[in-house]
Amino acid sequence: MTDSEFATCFQQHVARLVALGVAASGDVEVARDLAQETFLRLHRHWDRLDNRDDVGGWLTRVMANLLIDHHRSKASERRAVERLTNLAGRGVLDGEPNLGRWGALVSPLPTRQRLIVALHYGDDRSISEIAELLDVSPNTVKSALAKAREVLRDRGGIDAH
């Protein structure tokens, strides 16, 4: 594998990963940052890579894990800062969602559910693919999608186009 092949791979997948990141985190900067981190990890293994058939799936998986862990670490940071400064509730570390309608749609959902919804509806992944990517059972994916529909229905559904 050459640097130019890596560059091609990067340019082929980066926009999709950023879109997934934005859909799940609601924050473009976080999404770009985590997409770069994903490619950084790919780069470390690039010389040993002898099959690119499923690089897209691998990248999606790493990106998904990074998004979940990002949420977890962000919560940890927030707790630490709140503990030390009594800044609870001021949203010091929160990025503002900036995806308009989609952001408003998925913002009530927990991070993992938001990710599942983004993978299913935005990235066109099947339930079994998502289960494999996120290392959860298909039932977990189905439950998350059902929960998302329930939340949306409670909010009166979505305005038709």
């Binding site: 950023v18 770009r32 940052d33 799936g57 691998w58 977890r72 509806y121 990517l133 290392d135 977990t140």
Partner: protein, 508 residues
């Protein structure tokens, strides 16, 4: 109201539109340039140079400034060298991302299978799943998000990597990859005490308090099967705090069900009955699904999660109840006739009641002098009593209603009733129980008089009244019928049939 299909269509349209909008806004060439700069920075870190900051560091640096400005203490935000805990990309021999050969095992094994590399101390270093352990680092290490322990199996059996978070194993599973990006944990040399989840398979592990497998933060731990007490959980009936309608469960019985034994509280086929499935281990995936569906509650050391078994309200609903401290995970069924949200309310009430009752130790046997306030002795706030300051001959009984600090913090409606008899110059507690009142119910302790089935009974000590909008024919000071009531005499507590109870309140 849109159908599922209609909702699916609308969500998909919105999602695709959002994806396209973002993808159009991303310039791959610009991103690649930014990536190259970051790659150069990462290379500098790898050879020990100063880390190159990027967007995320800026955010945390801002947080650190806030902390320092507050004059409290500095939040350490130094970044260690990047670590390789992610699975390598697929190779030609293992194209699937879930194939175990693409898991981090190949990478992690080379750095974590050698027990000599683990320098932290585990106490004990042989621990049963479901029991407590303390890991003390060998010096200051950057902690993994403060509350996450990574567990890496040191042999070739079972799961390779899992995370222990808040007493649960997260993504333990089946040789598949788990990644831990850098986390801005504090630097600390303090020990961390946690419960080894009962679901962690026995075997040799390396448990790390750090994200980067720093030997100073990792300890070798041999996990043995759950103790008999913990593994017996699935077979031992454990009385649920309430029936499905919030009433006390009373005595349980063991029924033979088609799939094995079940403990039952409430009448057979009664809509409020609760079944505990015995002798059947809980499927961790079911629990995972319940948590993922957002139907999980935790208060203190108790967790509960709700998962429909069939289609509510026609099907039953499972409530998983876990005692984190003991490692016990039990499985109850409520319904049919209930909706998801009903079961969620029950589950939440259960953990609240269990946590409230566990925050204060049992009061049975405790004494306090006649004519004094028992609040301190009983360890909770007193909110009412049938007779505390008045005189009573020996052998007389009273009831005191208490509310625990945990319950008074917005949980509402959950009381501990303490029953005590007069023994010389002291009151002595003989019974206690938790009761939950609905929003429109009341607890009455002092009565002018009560009758049971029309006959005056002076020993009626506590009554939960019906809803205030119920069919109460007499003046409002009269309670009839009670939802629950107890007589208490000479230390004997007896629950009375609700329809037989009628009491006149004494100016409450």
């Amino acid at each position: 109201m849109p159908t599922d299909d209609e909702l699916d269509r609308r969500i998909a349209e919105t999602a695709r539109s959002a994806f396209k909008q973002v993808q159009r806004s991303v310039d791959p060439a610009t991103e690649y340039e930014a990536f190259q700069r970051r790659l150069d920075g990462a290379k500098l870190i790898e050879v020990g140079s100063a880390p190159v900051p990027h967007r995320r560091w800026t955010v945390v640096a801002a947080a650190a400034v806030i902390v320092v400005a507050a004059g409290v203490t500095a939040l350490l935000v130094r970044r260690d060298a990047d670590t390789d805990v992610v699975a390598p990309p697929p190779s030609s021999s293992s194209p699937s991302t879930t194939d175990s050969s693409t898991s981090p095992a190949a990478t992690a094994a080379s750095t974590t299978t050698n027990p000599v590399s683990a320098l932290a101390e585990a106490s004990p270093d042989v621990v049963a799943a479901g029991e407590q352990i303390t890991i003390t680092p060998a010096g200051f290490v950057q902690r993994a998000c403060l509350d996450i322990v990574t567990a890496t199996r040191r042999d070739d059996e079972g799961p390779r990597v899992g995370q222990i978070v808040d007493g649960r194993v997260v993504s333990p599973a089946t040789g598949t990859a788990v990644t831990y990006p850098e986390c801005f944990g504090e630097y600390s040399d303090a020990g961390f005490t946690f419960i080894v989840p009962a679901t962690l398979p026995p075997g040799p592990y390396e448990m790390c308090l750090t994200d980067d497998a720093n030997p100073s933060g990792c300890a070798s731990v041999d996990v043995t099967p759950p103790s008999e007490a913990a593994s017996a959980c699935a077979s031992d009936p454990f009385t649920p705090p309430t029936l499905a309608d919030g009433t006390p469960p009373g005595e349980g019985s063991i029924d033979a069900e088609a799939n094995g034994r079940a403990a039952r509280w409430g009448a057979t086929d009664a809509p409020n009955r609760v079944l505990q499935t015995l002798d059947t281990a809980v499927d961790p995936e079911s629990l995972d699904a319940a948590v993922a569906a957002g139907r999980a509650f935790a208060v203190g050391r108790f967790q509960a999660a709700v998962l429909p078994v069939g289609d509510p309200p026609l099907g039953s609903i499972a409530i998983f109840l876990r005692d984190i401290e003991g490692g016990c995970l039990r499985w109850y069924l409520v319904g049919p006739g209930l909706l998801d949200e009903d079961a969620a309310r029950i589950a939440q009430a259960w953990v609240e009641m269990l946590a409230a009752s566990s925050t204060g130790s049992s009061t049975i046997g405790k004494r306090w002098p006649v004519g004094t306030d028992p609040s301190k002795v009983l360890g909770a706030q007193q909110v009412g009593a049938s007779k505390i300051f008045g005189s009573s001959p020996p052998g007389d009984g009273i009831v005191v209603a208490l509310i625990d600090a945990a319950s008074s913090n917005g949980l509402g409606g959950i009381y501990r009733l303490v029953f005590a008899i007069r023994d010389s110059q002291d009151w002595v507690v003989t019974h206690e129980m938790m009761v939950e009142l609905a929003d429109d119910e009341q607890l009455s302790l002092v009565h002018e008089q009560c009758t049971l089935a029309g006959t005056y009974d002076p020993n009626m000590v506590a009554v939960l009244s019906p809803p205030k909008d119920g069919d109460i024919p007499d003046p409002p000071s009269r309670v009839w019928p009670g939802r629950l009531g107890w007589t208490y005499t000479a230390g004997v507590l007896t629950e009375q049939a609700p329809e037989t109870i009628a009491c006149t309140l004494a100016g409450e």
